[in-house]
Symmetry: none
Subunit: 418 residues, 2 copies
Amino acid sequence: MIAEIISIGDELLIGQTINTNAAWMGQELNKIGIDVHQVSVITDDEQHIRKALDESRERVNIVLITGGLGPTKDDITKTTLASYFHMPLIENEEILISIKERLKSRKLEMNELNRKQALVPANARVFLNKWGTAPGMWFEDKQNVFVSMPGVPTEMKGLMTEYVLPAIQEKFHPPEIIHKTLLTMGTIEARLADLLEDFENELPAEIKMAYLPSSPIIKLRLSARGQDRSLLEKLLKKQINKLYEIIPDLIFGTEPETLEEIVGRLLKERKQSLATAESCTGGNISHLVTSVPGSSDYYVGSLIAYANEVKINTLNIPVELIEKQGAVSKEVVLQMAGNVKDLFGTDYSVAISGIAGPSGGTPEKPVGTTWIAIGTPDNCIAYKFNLGTDRLRNIHMASLISLNLLRKNILKAGTVLV
Amino acid sequence: MIAEIISIGDELLIGQTINTNAAWMGQELNKIGIDVHQVSVITDDEQHIRKALDESRERVNIVLITGGLGPTKDDITKTTLASYFHMPLIENEEILISIKERLKSRKLEMNELNRKQALVPANARVFLNKWGTAPGMWFEDKQNVFVSMPGVPTEMKGLMTEYVLPAIQEKFHPPEIIHKTLLTMGTIEARLADLLEDFENELPAEIKMAYLPSSPIIKLRLSARGQDRSLLEKLLKKQINKLYEIIPDLIFGTEPETLEEIVGRLLKERKQSLATAESCTGGNISHLVTSVPGSSDYYVGSLIAYANEVKINTLNIPVELIEKQGAVSKEVVLQMAGNVKDLFGTDYSVAISGIAGPSGGTPEKPVGTTWIAIGTPDNCIAYKFNLGTDRLRNIHMASLISLNLLRKNILKAGTVLV
């Protein structure tokens, strides 16, 4: 069973608004076994809307339309739908009362524009909008269902959850579908595909896999589809276990948990604490760690030692060491990790020093050279990476790589990683 | 001149990825006078891609396609385009060399999948991808241009900026369009619209204004469209001067300069330095400041004092003060600003302490309560804000508000702000 989403609105086309509605609807439809086959974002124009309706009914059974239902004059979806389905517009008393009450509670008078919102196509099924004024509308025409909803996210989500999704399930009885997404880090997509070639070829017919790269993370999404949910769950579990056997070092978690949440959970479970000392990432590791609610349970703080003076005066790195080895060096980053752990009295620490770019590189230490050290209860271990030349990308990559190294060290506490 | 964007990828349809690419492309096309007429998000399926190409060429002149160019087998855009335009795939030596070098710099071997990325349709114009491995491709067919790019945002943006947008301008000579975007902070959209009602009504026909809110910033984009560029520039300048007269305290800059770049420039011009002491923002202010290339010229570092122990032991905040006033208080945040300025020896400082949420609030200090202090060469000034209940939004808002207060204090150095 497949659906199309038609999003109406110039604000989407000029990029003023990002189409988060379509993503949310795709997720929710997917959960009840409906595939979104196409999303079409179109202008507030009658001919364009008619054309999109004609095209969509050729492709899919279910067409979900958002936008163009506000009271202002650039919103013409409702009159277009009424004329497209050859229905007159009639005033709906239930909607009229609900709009009146809504306005009254906000101490506003009913005007002509509001009154027009109570007009609905005569034979459409109407869903009362408790989250705003424009109602949802359900049209059936031959094998197709068309549903029109406002574009305001809270109103669309309310109508979808309360009325539209249940009505679709009742009418179409879609198949079961289960997604599971594994998170990997440590290699590039082509190499991962090599490692998983046999695995992919041996996948049962019910399961498909997709690579979703967002450097340095590559997500592996497995989707199982069929009639018997418990059978699908079993099949999926078996394949996921296989993946853990093939690439145990690359998988770091499963969605919806993020890397920073995983690190936080591991520390919380062990009642251990973390501090960081950042140079080239300039606070981004700290920002990621503290994005997680409850991070104050395990995160103590950070010293962002951007200038060498801070490394020397507050983090007690010997000036001679920086002069001899350079601030971006194994020796300095190891001392940073050890000293920040001592300074803040934590079990773990992450220290990082690198050349984020775009300038500041040398032949021996080009832009992208990055040293990371992880301080554990037993020792400190340093790692070197050569990242790229893009400053923001380097900061992003270095932050996630650091957190993944921290994760590995927490799991292998007591064992030195090579 | 109108364009269509075809975004290919199941991850967009199931809502795993939000289509930010289409929004960015819509904005950029708009800037050079090209309107996006439709965005079509479709599956990784040959027939679906062919159908979308057929439909789009009926609607528009320019079709921009993203996605489906990775090396793994779920990516079939390139072979579909080659067959659609009746071109064989041939190996492109320049691309092959560039992929080899890219892999070599990451110490990876070339495999068959990488090698396939160097295949391109024989008569397509090829854009070398410096940001990844899959090249951009430009096809001309009768009156239409079709451009294929990878779906990875950094790669698409690099190709668009460097090659595709200039090539579109060269071929289609769209009308002159000049955008100027003023950045404001300090009020809500409805209030800003009130203040600017007369201004909007008096705008000349060539100029339109749009409100682009992304809390706490509201951008005001003025667009002038016509044939005579120097006339448009004159008209625009006059209106911008008018805006500066109406809302001088709200405007903080003009695009493309960001708030963090403005603050950096002001410090650099004055040869002054900055340190921060963050609690609730957890390093995000530091991250913003250090996102700017060259920030090491004025930014010294930060103490992320997430735990009270760090505030007490490293930042020397008296334990009695925290016990009496609470960590989220005027008194504590003023001391944080003063002490971090002394500790790191800087001219300016920003200190912040608040309740980011979702929990941790009390009746007197609900979630969102945020104290910010700015340390200047002369004194320290504290400000209180009541933000919302959403943790990530609070961190984002508090960081930008802090930088704007810093900016105001740098400009009025010596004068105490009320």
